[in-house]
């Protein structure tokens, strides 16, 4: 196949093409995925074009930007326009996760491959109900069973979890230091 390499297609306006692809994609579009569509374009060129797009959308006064979540790029409205969008969609307030759900989710995020019993032990409360809701919301997923008595199911957070919190990977979760800082603030802010 490599004997007579076809001339790599020239992409005039690579940025424009990529913007169109992101525009038409509902889930965050990764550079890899773009690369598989644009055969012949290098990952560096694509990354550079994407960076240009992100910066361009950021600097123009328009209401839409391109943000990076879950390792890909997606169109999103500016946070300042939230109330107007909600008014159009007639949504009073978006449903946030309940504290119990958030706590369970957090526990799973920091301890991948955790079982229900382990989560319950950490939180001191039975977690079966919240796990069920989180599964339904697809924020966590079952990745298998643990080789232990009863073969309990083992959970992990999903890509949707990353999207939901605007993270690119689990490495972007609040770090030990950030958590320490919060705990410190709590102590000092108490009267």
């Amino acid at each position: 196949m490599n004997e007579a390499p076809a001339p790599a297609p020239v992409f005039e306006n690579l940025q424009g093409i990529i913007e169109a692809l992101i525009f038409i994609s509902q889930d965050p579009l990764t550079v890899d995925r773009i690369k598989s569509v644009l055969e012949g374009a290098s990952a560096e060129d694509i990354q550079a074009a994407v960076d240009g797009l992100v910066a361009g959308a950021e600097s123009r006064p328009g209401g839409i930007r391109i943000i990076q979540v879950a390792g890909g790029y997606v169109f999103a409205t500016r946070p300042d326009h939230d109330r107007w969008v909600r008014r159009l969609l007639q949504i009073e307030r978006k449903n946030r996760l309940s504290s119990a759900s958030l706590e369970t989710l957090c526990t799973v995020a920091y301890n991948p491959d955790i079982t229900q019993a382990e989560i319950s032990a950490l939180r001191g409360v039975d977690a079966s109900g919240t796990l069920k809701t989180l599964l339904e919301k697809k924020l966590i997923r079952i990745v298998g069973r643990k080789k232990a008595p009863g073969n309990p199911l083992v959970y992990r957070t999903s890509d949707k979890f990353l999207q939901y919190f605007g993270l690119n990977s689990l490495e972007e979760l609040p770090s030990e230091e950030e958590i320490g800082r919060i705990l410190q603030e709590d102590k000092t802010s108490e009267p």
Binding site: S25, S99, V125, I142, L167
Partner: protein, 249 residues
């Protein structure tokens, strides 16, 4: 599941704790006590007072609260016992509780950071009603019929029966759980190998439930069973349908 928002206006539900550790942490903070040095008697008194104030105790939900109350009393009793020698640092009965509290406190702190991110993200609207992109290796599949499925299923079951194995029956499988498991597996792997999946089932009963679950999912048009040619393996994949459910509805 979702509690009414209480950030604005007056607070309706004041002291609702997500769990016994939550309550304990609250009491410790209220008394401005160092978490490493909890006066067990005082905290236990407050703790029991809180439980007393609840007019009804729902045993299922509050069992954990009672458990922690019992734990506190146990710790106090251990500390009251006369001993010949003072306890070494590691033997302090409060230690495990303190460790759990510290761990829990970390989770709470991480939660508060994630909550900020959540609020941040919720104000940035994304489009949720575009037609989803086709999978990267979507080929021309033919959807298989019920008979193809049933035939393959019986072949697998026969093959298993011939293998002479013993099963210790231990758990009940519900159709609903099985359906969820299938959907999760299909979503995670971008598809599911029919043969392989049923080979994996531990008991005939579980396999049967899984099979019914699969039929149900096909009927509800959540998934489809496809084959890219005769004699090829049957794959189960999500049905591409623009009307999918979303997180925020």
């Amino acid at each position: 599941m979702s509690a009414p928002e209480t950030t604005e206006g007056y607070q309706v539900r004041l002291e609702i704790f997500e769990g016994p550790l939550d309550l304990l942490l609250f009491l410790i903070r209220k008394k401005k006590i160092d978490i490493h040095d909890i006066p067990i008697a005082a905290i236990t008194r407050d703790y029991l007072e809180y439980l007393d104030r609840k007019e009804q105790i729902n045993l299922d939900r509050e069992a954990e609260f009672l458990f922690v109350a019992a734990l506190l009393i146990y710790i106090k009793s251990q500390m009251l016992l006369p001993r010949e020698k003072d306890l070494a640092e590691e033997e302090d009965p409060r230690r495990t509780l303190v460790n759990r509290l510290l761990e829990f406190q970390k989770v709470k702190a991480a939660c508060s950071l994630l909550r900020e991110r959540e609020d941040d993200q919720l104000r940035q609207w994304k489009r949720t009603f575009l037609p989803p992109l086709p999978g990267e290796q979507d080929l021309d599949f033919t959807e298989v019929s019920l008979f193809d499925l049933a035939e393959s299923f019986f072949i697998i079951m026969k093959r298993r029966a011939a293998r002479d194995f013993r099963v210790i029956k231990g758990k009940d499988v519900s159709l609903e759980d099985k359906m969820k498991e299938i959907v999760t597996a299909v979503e995670a792997g971008g598809g599911l190998d029919f043969l392989e999946y049923f080979e994996r089932q531990e008991t005939v009963e579980e396999a049967l439930v899984a099979f019914f679950g699969l039929l149900e999912l096909i009927k509800s048009r959540t998934v489809q069973a496809v084959q890219d040619g005769i004699f090829k393996t049957i794959r189960v994949q999500l049905r591409r349908d623009p009307r999918r459910t979303h997180l925020h509805e």
